[in-house]
């Protein structure tokens, strides 16, 4: 099975769960500064953190695109500020204020969010806004998974690219930041790793 590449943004950056026995050896941590010379052929998936140096990585957008063209899977966290991916527009901050503007709504089922309650994404200890503060507008053909605010703009989406490859977008705080939450939001990190595992084995289970 191919491995998953976590583009580490600083030392000790990889979440502990990436090394948990269930997924032992599946995720390899490499500092993102090594991306330009890295051979991507051993990897079936790439995970990007919200801390990514997008300015530097965007200079190698063609390498990311060809990884996807070859059938790779890319998981993105954070706000898009630089042209990392063709067809993905820059981040739009959420308009409006208060809880209504920051409420998370499930728009389509996906294994990463199975059993994750909307309110556990909207609120942490009653406070709204940790999960997302806007969205990266999806390309045509993407499936919106979670929407934000009254307009249910696509905060999380899945895009099976016509040219091959898949983009899983979460336009906010790193999904694994919830791994220690005492709520159903903690399910996201292990379910992300399980989903990546099945995707890399060729078992598509979101359709």
């Amino acid at each position: 099975m191919k491995r998953c590449l976590f583009l580490r943004c600083k030392r000790d950056h990889a979440p502990k769960i990436f090394d948990a026995p269930l997924w032992a050896g599946m995720v390899e941590n490499v500092h993102q500064s090594r991306f330009p010379e890295l051979d991507l052929s051993p990897y079936g998936a790439i995970i990007m953190s919200m801390l990514t140096d997008q300015a530097s990585l965007s200079r190698h957008a063609d390498k990311l695109e060809s990884f996807l063209d070859r059938g790779g899977l890319l998981v993105v966290n954070g706000h898009m500020a630089y042209p990392l991916l063709a067809d993905v527009a820059p981040f739009l901050p959420q308009s409006g204020h208060g809880t209504d503007a920051l409420a998370v709504h499930r728009l389509a089922d996906h294994p990463v969010f199975a059993g994750v309650a909307e309110e556990d994404l909207t609120f942490r200890r009653g406070v709204a806004g940790f999960y997302g503060r806007g969205h990266n507008p999806p390309p045509d053909g993407a499936i919106a998974l979670n929407g934000l605010g009254a307009g249910k703009v696509a905060l999380d989406w899945l895009w099976r690219r016509p040219k091959g490859g898949t983009v899983f977008m979460h336009g906010g705080l790193d999904l694994w930041a919830y791994a220690g939450d005492p709520t159903s939001a903690a399910r996201m990190a292990p379910q992300l790793l399980n989903w990546l595992k099945s995707e890399m084995r060729g078992e598509t289970c979101d359709a």
């Binding site: 600083k10 030392r11 500064s33 801390l51 140096d53 997008q54 300015a55 630089y82 200890r125 503060r133």
Partner: protein, 227 residues
């Protein structure tokens, strides 16, 4: 107006903070950390290092930053994480992050303005340094702490003792929060800090040690922390 060099780690929040016109108008030049080696620090009055930049990207510039400080320059590091590896005199202790203290109006987070008369506070409201924090600093001898967590350490200090220049260090992370569209206090602090660095009095006349200055107990600005 002082010339400010804003170092950029290439993240989305560095970009969105620096691109905000209310911040950008104070920035003379913005440089990606990867291009810092080709930049003459001495051409600038202030070098700003943002929060949540990869500290390993700054270690190669430890010598250049030290020489710039020794020459009288001003370095502002909003990143304290591993900053002892590229800046002098920094002792940072990570603390458990309490995102929630302000939910209980009766809780005193212990944050104190140590020098209310410092000119920084002509630009930054006392309540604007209050949200969660990720660590506390032990200022080196002769440095002036402007914001403390009582009994814990400093959240923001100015060190004019370790070098001939000014080293301003904070564990608050306003660039991250403002650039993430998250937290009004962080926005106020960033705007005020930039205005102060560009146009304000830097408070050099203040003695490093003064036993008789008043300490201001501050409370959170209502609604200032989160949504």
């Amino acid at each position: 107006m002082r010339k400010i060099l804003a170092v950029d780690g290439g993240t989305y929040f560095h970009h969105f903070s620096y691109a905000d016109p209310r911040v950008a108008r104070f920035i003379d030049r913005r440089v990606h950390v990867g291009d810092l080696g080709a930049t003459r620090l001495d051409d600038f009055d202030v070098v700003l290092l943002p929060c949540r930049i990869d500290p390993d990207s700054l270690i190669p510039f430890a010598g250049a930053l030290r020489a710039y400080l020794d020459g009288g320059g001003t370095v502002v590091s909003l990143n304290a994480d591993a900053a002892d590896e590229f800046l002098p005199g920094i002792v940072n202790r990570s603390t458990e992050v309490n995102f929630w203290w302000w939910l209980d109006g009766g809780v005193d987070p212990g944050i104190r303005i140590m020098r209310p008369s410092h000119p920084l506070f002509a630009h930054v409201g006392a309540g604007h340094v209050i949200w969660h924090y990720h660590g506390v600093l032990t200022p080196p001898p002769g440095a002036i702490s402007l914001v403390d967590v009582e009994g814990e350490g400093s959240l923001l200090y100015i060190d004019r003792a370790s070098t001939a220049g000014r080293l301003i260090v904070s564990t608050l992370d306003p660039v991250f929060h403002h650039g993430s569209n998250f937290m009004p206090n962080a926005t106020h602090l960033l705007y005020g800090l930039m205005e102060w660095l560009a146009e304000g009095a830097l408070g050099d006349a203040m003695a490093p040690i003064s036993a008789d200055h008043p300490i201001e107990v501050v409370r959170a600005v209502s609604g200032g922390c989160c949504a």
